[in-house]
Amino acid sequence: MPGPLNRRTFLKRAAATAAGLAAAGSIPTGIAEAASRATRQESDRRNLTLICWQGYADPSFVRPFEQQNNCKVTATYAGSSDEMVAKWIAGHGNTYDLVSASGDATRRFMNSRTLLPVDVSKLKNFDKLFPKFYTPVWNTRNGQHFGVSFTWGPDVLIYDTRVFKKAPTSWHVIYDPAYKGKLSTADNPITIADVALYLGFKDCYNLTDAQLAKCKAQLQEQKPLLRKYWGGSGDLEDAFIHREVVASNAWPLMTNDLRKAHYPIGETIPREGATGWADTWMISKNSPNVDLAMKWIDYMIGPQGQKGVIDVTAYSGASRSAIPLLGPARVKALHMDNLSFFDELHMWAEPANYAKWQKIWNDVKA
């Protein structure tokens, strides 16, 4: 809570909010698309279009790629896997060259018959992937590659360290009435898997109707405690920075951004375990820029791209190529020295009854 205010601090805060507003770069996803479209300019340089998660097209590593290949990279950020699938399929794969699909969406992409099989022998950095990412089920079918994994990571519990002196040990905090009005959760049906883990349903992508009903009841109980559902990293970071929220599920990207902003943020994996994800670059079979798209994939699993995306997101890399650049301490912190952490995570997968998950999510929210 802000301390006692005098006129000067009031004016200072007002000015600060105004400045924050002017710099309001953290406009939620979905909306960011319009802005990115506007920047798409006519020129003789070729334009590689991506639909991806926030952090996967940061200028810090996109610029060098653009310069190396004399092209322009235009990214649309999506707030959920569903949004990526919807936008990709609505355009029958004609709208974007590449998508950064997570494991809960890759089956839908592969089923959509809009993907180009990737000839991995043409990627000079492919061999440097951790072996677990050579032919993972989420992007390989009958030995055919429909994309290449490049990052993975957990869904973490993040908290304001001024409120929580010690790291919470259970996901219970985001269902705890003691923090009513100060909590948030991801606005995404796949969040139901997190609820399932909290309720002790270990097989959290394979829920029975009875288990789903329990998850729904838990979500309905949580709803009045929430400040808001977050729809993107900027949305949640903004809520923390303005002290609207003190605990939420999140991605390591948010922890990283908030730490960069010197916000007192903590991150932990509670004892119930955590869901996680591995993301794959997939190419549209209708892409006019296949060669460029292949270069992008090779770049993103190569040392420069891996280091770049890890610096921005604090996600773990799917490749060993950046290990010398990261240094032993960061490699260990990112669990890239020992992938047993990967095996402990409940990796996002598309539930067979996903339509029911979507319906539950809509019901809970409305």
């Binding site: 802000p2 929430l226 808001k228």
Partner: protein, 272 residues
């Protein structure tokens, strides 16, 4: 001279609407979105049987009506002030229009900074000892959506109202006064009937803009702030059930059609 406008309306309005209508009778599959084109009433049955859609629609209509009424109340004095009280009318109008030059998103975001727990308004209220500690009830709530809608749509009410007010002949008001009518009576029996078309035109704008919005609920709404626009957006932008999204859109259109019919009953639309 009607030709171009008919073509315009047809291509950009009627054809897409007809496509939506047709699509609402189809079924969807997750691969090709809409393939099975055997007409079915499934989606409308879902709309009728599931209280979710009714509740959210009703909530949206109530909010849209409240926003419209508030905008009328706020726009009237402002438009009258510009029309009757100031000499440099164009400057007055310019001030009303200027906010429209900034993005709708920026204006919605501004309210987030104003209404936040650590925001401008809370800081002011605490500073002036009206509140002992900042209230978190302002942001991420239905109230925040109401305030934002009321503000961002206000120019759409002020402009037609001003145009209507400007056309009211001062001699009529003077005549009413001369015949002994007091201020409120002149207002009710002379001004309001004459500017009714302006009020209706503004109301159509504010009401339908609120009915179709899905951005503000995400930016300023709380966990319980989904509007009908969000449900439509989810069908097109998430679950890919375009037929259901189309059916919900038809429901919204039906509400707006009812609103237009009511408006035309007042005779205001012909007068335009």
């Amino acid at each position: 001279m009607l030709g171009p406008s008919v073509v315009w309306l047809g291509v950009f309005y009627l054809v897409p609407l007809a496509l939506l209508l047709v699509q609402s009778f189809w079924t969807y599959d997750s691969v090709n979105v809409v393939t099975n084109q055997t007409p079915t009433l499934d989606r409308y049955r879902a709309l009728a049987s599931d209280p979710l859609y009714r509740d959210v629609l009703w909530k949206t209509v109530r909010l849209a009506a409240l926003v419209t009424v508030t905008d009328i109340a706020l726009a009237f004095p402002l438009a009258a002030f510009i029309a009757f009280r100031i000499r440099r009318k164009s400057l007055g109008l310019l001030l009303v229009i200027i906010p429209l030059w900034s993005s709708y998103l920026v204006r919605a975001y501004a309210w987030r900074t104003i209404l936040g727990t650590d925001g401008v308004l809370n800081n002011f209220l605490v500073w002036s000892h009206i509140l002992s500690h900042p209230s978190s009830a302002l942001l991420f709530s239905n109230t925040a959506m109401y305030i934002t809608f009321t503000h961002v749509w206000l120019p759409f009410m002020v402009l037609p109202l001003y145009t209507a007010l400007e056309k009211v002949p001062p001699s009529l008001m003077e005549a009413a006064r001369d015949l002994g009518a007091n201020g409120p009576r002149v207002f009710r029996h002379v001004i309001v009937p004459l500017v009714l078309p302006g009020i209706i035109a503004g109301s159509i704008a504010t009401f339908s803009l609120t009915m179709g919005d899905y951005i503000t609920p995400g930016l300023l709404g709380g966990p319980d702030s989904n509007l009908i626009g969000n449900l439509i957006f989810t069908q097109f932008g998430g679950t890919l059930d375009w037929p259901l999204g189309s059916a919900i859109s038809m429901l919204v259109l039906a509400v707006l059609a009812c609103f237009l019919v009511l408006a035309s009953r007042t005779g205001a639309l012909e007068a335009q």
